[in-house]
Symmetry: C3
Subunit: 394 residues, 3 copies
């Protein structure tokens, strides 16, 4: 129990946020009654700039370049005192050496990293990378539709998009001239039964496989990632979410430019019915500009949905503009303000993913709630939100 090897660390982030959304009637419902429905909410919000958390980590030097290390990190909802009931943000044990790092446990997925690293708003608060919000929605809604949230619903049901449990990861060592990379495999852990009259199992449901490779040198950082999450694997219903994304940033010194392209396919293979696969194409362009002890942050993102069917008017599109400012009081403490606006076109198509965020990265949602958008008469049209807060790390 050498305490020198243990670090207790965390983030407490609190602010005031306001969210408002607008839905409007469409189709036949638009002929009668009200045209629009507005929702709004003002909250004390955690995690507007960085996700609130409490963690324990440590490293032991084993000699010969070898090291063992652990990382246990719990989410905090410091507005209400919630949290610390699990280490759902990360709980890993690593053995590292000249060969790289072998990491076992619950961790971020390989295919999530680009959504975070190349987002000027670092996937927190109202300005969160739009692709990340849509990906979270896909992960949660498809898991719920195919048998319940994966891994017991930790991390707001976004497994295996944002994080995955039961994972084996390998990371390249850091000294490869700027090249970095990881491969990751998460065990589905379902029981396999053999023998006559064996019950149908859940097969590979919960399995995740992914990889990421990049190059970072001086001002440049560029990375490509691929991931595949199995949400259904029965005889009559196979479904995988396949994600590929490419991100890059260039630091001009006076400003840093960010960009990301992402394609997500929701691939359903069903022998008895026609295959229907949705496709989500996303793009993000961002900028940060340091101003004295502060940082201006801007991002614009768009996601286009193609539902794969042949019915007319079967697509949808969402755009998001986010602007923010972070003022550093010290290395550990910062004040921040962010504002974001979302516009949705044809939001009645796939509102659970394209227009609604019941399970957004940072709750609560800035999009319309399901009740209005799926009742057939209302579709989500847009949303506005802001965060004003303070973030403290320790």
């Amino acid at each position: 129990s050498a305490q020198s090897s243990l670090t207790v660390f965390g983030v407490v982030d609190a602010g005031i946020s306001r969210y408002s959304t607008k839905s409007s009637t469409y189709g036949s419902a638009a002929l009668f009654g009200p045209r629009t429905m507005r929702q709004s909410q003002t909250v004390l919000s955690p995690s507007g700039l960085s996700s609130s958390r409490l963690g324990f980590r440590g490293t032991e030097d084993l000699g010969g370049g070898l090291a063992a290390s652990f990382w246990l990190e719990a989410p905090l909802s410091n507005d209400t005192g919630g949290g610390i009931s699990n280490f759902g943000r990360r709980s890993t044990l690593s053995l590292s050496g000249p060969f790289g790092e072998l990491r076992l446990g619950r961790d971020y997925t390989a295919s999530f990293w680009n959504d975070a690293v190349f987002d000027p708003m670092t996937v927190n608060g109202v300005g969160t990378n739009l692709i990340a919000v849509v990906n979270s929605n896909i992960a949660a809604s498809r898991a719920l539709a195919t048998g319940g949230l994966l891994n017991g619903g930790l991390s707001a049901g976004t497994d295996s998009y944002l994080r995955t449990s039961n994972a084996l990861s390998y990371f390249l060592p850091p000294n490869l001239g700027g090249f970095y990379g990881q491969v990751q495999y998460a065990l589905p852990e379902n029981i396999k039964v053999e023998g006559a009259s064996a019950p149908a199992g859940t097969g590979r449901r919960g399995r995740y496989a992914g990889a990421r490779a990049g190059w970072s040198n001086g001002a440049v950082d560029v990375a490509l990632a691929y991931g595949e999450s199995t949400v259904a694997d029965t005889l009559l219903n196979k479904e995988r979410i396949k994600t590929v994304n490419l991100g890059a940033s260039y630091d001009f010194g006076w400003a840093k430019l960010f960009g990301e392209l992402s394609r997500v396919k929701d691939v359903k293979e069903r022998p008895l019915t026609a295959a229907v696969s949705g496709r989500y194409d996303g793009a993000l362009l961002g900028l940060t500009v340091p101003v004295g002890p502060g940082l201006i942050r801007v991002s614009y993102a768009t996601v286009k949905f193609d539902n794969g069917s042949t019915v007319p008017d079967a697509d949808a599109r969402t755009n998001k503009l986010a602007v923010g400012y972070v003022h550093h009081l010290s290395k550990r403490t910062a004040l921040y303000a962010s504002v974001a606006r979302i516009r949705i076109r044809d939001g009645h198509n796939n509102p659970t993913v394209m227009g609604v965020t019941p399970l957004v990265l940072s709750l609560p949602a800035i999009f319309p709630q399901p009740g209005f958008t799926t009742s057939g008469g209302f579709q989500p049209r847009g949303a506005m939100g802001y965060d004003v807060g303070i973030r403290h790390t320790f």
Copy 2:
């Protein structure tokens, strides 16, 4: 992650407690059958002297008199291993400076402080301030009657009496010649919907607003507090619990005298029925006497209930006498023993609040359980209890 700025702290308090209660038949039920019912229970009890807890806190000096600080504190049920699943005791982020302190998050309410500071038994164990027990009962029973416990039921359902989530608090700076004060507002966070056929919302349910001001100088400490908790806010049902209390202590050196007056109104505004507001008037008188490394503690309290209706015999009254001794083995560790006796008059009126403590500050209850008192035949008459234990802080 400068560890110098982080403190891990806590209390582990364990003892043996015995509770016994007496109920008796009243009205027509008193004509037949048994006259009394007794309940008793012997338990290993946490928190007899101080609430068991585990916390993490830290402060960063930001220069110019400014500081950022956080406080995360979890309850512990060390008798059974329960606890640590949330930081429901306190989870706050503060920015402080010459102007005072701005505090965001879950915290004690402004109107609770007097019930604790001016209780010789420091609201723990069988001797807990009677007003605090009644106030906890009001908070829990009115929340349950109007849509469920507030804030997800943390802190045994006593929100927003004892603590409140989503709060913004401002505290005066400490250097005002003994004057101190705070104002506090907790956001209800309910979604507001606008537009035709908008569903009825929960309005300001969960809102808390309060303030406390006092003066402490040498031997004297006196403080006045006011708080208002909204438990219902629909078109046909508006209900607020309004608390005002005044506490004072004077330290003679050989003894310290405590006193508190409290008035709580349960104000129901219903357009279609007559308004019925309950009123609870409480008074406490207490004394502590240092004896070598020990402290004798005595308190007597009474609460009178006026249910606001015109039916005869519509009131109830509860008295409580508590005596205890704390023996300090060190600054951090103490042995203690407390005994308390309660008498209830007309306990069939409002037994949930006046005679029953399913959600007492320190579980389990020393009062009769609901089953006997609300069945129409039994009313709570009295209770006895003691705690013998050891308290260790770290």
Copy 3:
């Protein structure tokens, strides 16, 4: 809050495990259809060598040989991020001195220790002491059959076999020439009701009483323990699980020998029906051999069940062979591999205890699941499992 007195400690253990089980038809079912059913599962497993945990403990010297100390220890499921929601592994407050130690709270039972101390596999992973698995099954299945898991289901429902809440323990001081011992009593905490028409209570359900005494000197360690857990105590249904075990080890230097004998009786006293008491007789023989920085571990155990009825063929027997190797990379970090094989005879008798481990010490089970064994057609026959992993303590 002197931080010198606080230690944050823990274990993170992660590995790959594979479990496979075989069931086969018996009786009339064996005449038709399939003869065998196989189950298998590959998982990322925590706790293959040591139970993953996070804890906080500290001691204060009170002078005069007295000390106060606390111990709060939470389980971790680091494969999925679960855990830390309670201190169910241990949460105690102690006062110790020349007289010994008085310990209050949740702790291991006195009668569990021999199952752990004299198991070469230290009751973790696939090689876990067979007696411990059977005892866990008895505790969980009898609690479920008599009103639900004890103490709210902490510790996988194995209360009061493995641990017990609400306990008062006394330990002899360490300086008695090698003699050691403890007595322990856990309060049932049920409410007692007196008076006419009082509802039937749960009496002493949840009560545990036990003791352990041993002698350890140089190469020898031997200890005897007895424990009694009350799982039912109503007028018509009284049931206690009585455990006695004797363990010993002798360290030859080049090898250490282990042995344990255990008898568990499930005593049911029911006035209206004939008493039926099951009896479980267990024996374990084990060996560890240090090899450089490593340790070879071998154990063989058997448990025989006598269900106490007069029906023919009413018994069952289980054997387990486990072999493993631990390679120490440092004092704190080790690699390990274990393999275990189980054979079950007449597993249709009492499969919940003898052949199935839904609530094994280290989840998931290496035995067949209930669905196949209790359906009347299948009985558990055997199981295989291995663990390969890394264990890090801090």
